[in-house]
Symmetry: C3
Subunit: 347 residues, 3 copies
């Protein structure tokens, strides 16, 4: 398929510069694009590629356009990345939803599967599961007893939904994700651990994406909750009774311990760790690699961590961290002595 | 089912306050419980909910009870969380063990499967595997060649046990867990990596729980060992030849590098990283997010890491870490000068 | 099988000390080996076991041999670990490649599977997939539409290769690994996240190993690339459009954010986190637990992180990190005062 630049600009609410009739059939990067492709500039790092791009058109902000010598075809937009996203969807509608039940799928007689749904090869649907309209279940995925999946949700292959989980509409769950495994509830009984039954469930809202090999544990008593519009990347661990607020985005390798409540519209960077029983306010950004051991009650950008250095320098500074408290006391002592002695000291 | 408070108290060795005849049918949180439910107080954070709880009874410590105005029904116990765990098991015995082999399961002719075991849909049991009494194998799980699983162990769906692994009795292995994958053994050969065959196995003791998407690699020569009663949460990586001591609990997202030996009765917090070839003593607690690069030879509580701050403040302090060694030297220099000059200085 | 020490020494290019005719049938650790086994010494930590070893022979460096009283049979090699790797392969050739398609495998009619390949129980090969010569596909693994796998590559059980992925020759992909899941591309649209289609692919070179539950996302436009000879351990997250250079080794639990380029011949320790859009030079070593937020343009060894301490001491030092910038300023102030006052101060 191909579309005119004019048409694309109209769809994304941008202004055309240059030839609105030029036809676009696909997207490309500034550096990789060729004739018939449209690219975009949203990250300043890649500005230098603008002058040499072979793309038939570029999506760009008014400021970047003004600051550049670029004179080719463009869609001028205040938010080039969002405009690009819309263009990319327009040019790549994705495969049509499939329908039916593969001969190798195992579906319990008590499961209710909508006739418009698709169940892939070797997937397993257990007793009393509910599979909604146009739901797509990838090969080898398992839907546990009594689990319900809302309309238009897609499970990629080898996803595991445990028993009694609720998944909303228009979700997308990537391979290897596990939803509803037992929370890590154990109690000491004379030096040995006794399992605490995990009796809650997991409730996942609408328009939620769950990344590959991400795990979301079921609650101990109440449920673990991922609210509408939350987006989770790969290899994330969500412990029992965590609440992830609506429209919060969480990058890869994040771990959130039990009963912590993450606010709405938060942005959590890769590799962040958050301790249990904390509250993180709405609109909090945590930069990559941050460890959070206390609640954060105000929106804002927060960070922790130590800088990378050559191993040799790091060793020297690293050991000094163990002396910090002592250094601070010695500094204070020096100040008190010096300020006593210092002539004309008003302090 | 429902049980009297008296009966529950007797089972957990607690004292009844109030109406021992009141009937309990399920558990709830202090804030969420309704009539017929029993709740518990073990975390000080939730004390404030005690006065408003609608639970028919509460499990509470003598001290918390004395310190509160709570006058409702209670089971008074020195360890409310453990008592709750026992009550929860009593009220929620869980589904009965299933028996038989699903028609879609693939079982090698040489595998030995006890008649009381259950093999779920699309699971695969390879040559010479041994499946013990009442073992439950979830849908899509794979049991490798020559692997043995002890009585009453439960594999949830999509678990992978590689070849020649030994799993003890009463274990519970959650979806996506992988036991017995190759250890990461590579040797440089003229700038290229040569694979070092991983010839050991994995031995997992009795009463071990393995979380979702946790990985336990097989040993290089000897075996990787998880001793009796160890409890592992989700997304943990146990490298080749690690030994995890009996009754040690490990929270999510922990990584333990090769040949490290973790003691017995340790508690390892979420996101901890432990380097290879180390020894961690018995009864060591590592708080969440700690990185351990040296052996810990004494029991105790250990931590590392830098505090979370606003991104702005963090930037300033973060850069200073690179100057720490220099700051320490300058501080010492100042002290030597000042202490020389200081009148009446006895140092 | 058993081989003479002489024969093994010839294969690994080492010198025999002692009885070249002694027969070796397997490998063992210095401490665990018995008659008929060969062991090796490459890690100084284990030197102390040399004198007591029951191994029939030991692979050792000339220096370690000279420094020890060991007089038993040996293969003397400049690189004992590499020599051991070769000996271990020699004595443990591994199972022969299987051939054929298990009755329970689901293979799309349009997939092209070489007659020498093996497809295990319940694996799924989707439309237009290409399975090369002698490729081995483990039980329950899924090969997505249009994905191609080069000759002699082995997929262990429950691996997921998404659509349109290219895997080179002689690869080894461990259970639970996911290759080609969507990159984490989202754009804000009035406070809600819109998905950015992930239109690129994943290209994995020859001789690449991918660990258990490791995830490699497909690119947004261009492809994510793992070059020849790279070795990835377990639980690693490779985000969209990352490039991992040839012969780079990455240990477990590493996360690499989008569009970062890792050089060739790098060694990345366990638990390392690397931010997005960075460049890491060739021959860079990152020690375990390091967080990298800026590009590293020179080869060398780099580290970050704070030392483990008792929790009590850590608390005191931890809080001081928040005062570092202020401490540095106070130190400077003291210096300026003192250096003004100091009699005979040459600075």
């Amino acid at each position: 398929m191909s579309v005119t630049l004019e048409e694309l600009a109209r769809r994304v609410g941008g202004e055309v510069q240059g030839d609105g009739e030029c036809r676009i059939d696909s997207v490309g990067t500034l550096i990789g694009a060729s004739a018939g492709q449209i690219s975009f500039l949203s990250n300043v790092r890649y500005k230098r590629h603008l002058k040499d791009t072979q793309a038939s058109a570029v999506i760009i902000s008014p400021d970047d356009l003004a600051a550049s010598e670029y004179t080719g075809n463009a869609i001028v937009s205040q938010d080039p990345y969002l405009a690009y996203a819309k263009v990319a969807v327009q040019l790549n509608p994705g495969p049509p939803a499939r329908q039916g039940i593969h001969a190798s799928a195992v579906v319990d007689a008590t499961a209710v599967v909508h006739e418009s749904a698709w169940l892939g090869p070797n997937c397993v649907i257990e007793a009393n599961a509910l599979i909604g309209e146009r739901v797509q279940i990838g090969a080898g995925s398992v839907v546990g007893e009594g689990t319900a999946i809302g309309a238009d949700t897609v499970l990629l292959p080898n996803v595991t939904l445990c028993h009694g989980v609720k998944i909303g509409m228009r979700g997308r769950i990537h391979p290897g994700a596990v939803i509803g495994s037992d929370g890590f509830g154990i109690a000491l009984d004379g030096g040995r651990w006794t399992k605490v039954p995990q009796l809650g469930s997991v409730q996942i809202g609408d328009d939620v994406e769950i990344g590959a090999n991400t795990t979301v544990d079921r609650g101990a008593i109440d449920s673990t909750i991922i609210e509408d519009g939350a987006k989770l990347d790969n290899q994330i661990q969500i412990a029992h009774n965590v609440i992830v607020g609506a429209h919060t985005a969480i990058a890869g390798c994040v771990g959130i311990a039990g009963s912590t409540r993450i606010g709405k519209h938060c942005a959590i960077g890769g590799g962040v760790g958050i301790a249990g029983h904390l509250e993180i306010a709405d609109h909090v950004t945590l930069t990559g690699g941050t460890t959070v051991l206390q609640s954060i009650r105000r929106s804002g950008v927060y960070s922790s961590g130590a800088p990378v250095e050559t191993n040799q320098k790091w060793h020297r500074n690293y050991l000094r961290i163990k002396q910090l408290d002592e250094m601070a006391r010695r500094l204070k002592e020096l100040e008190s002595r010096l300020l006593d002695e210092a002539p004309g000291n008003e302090e």
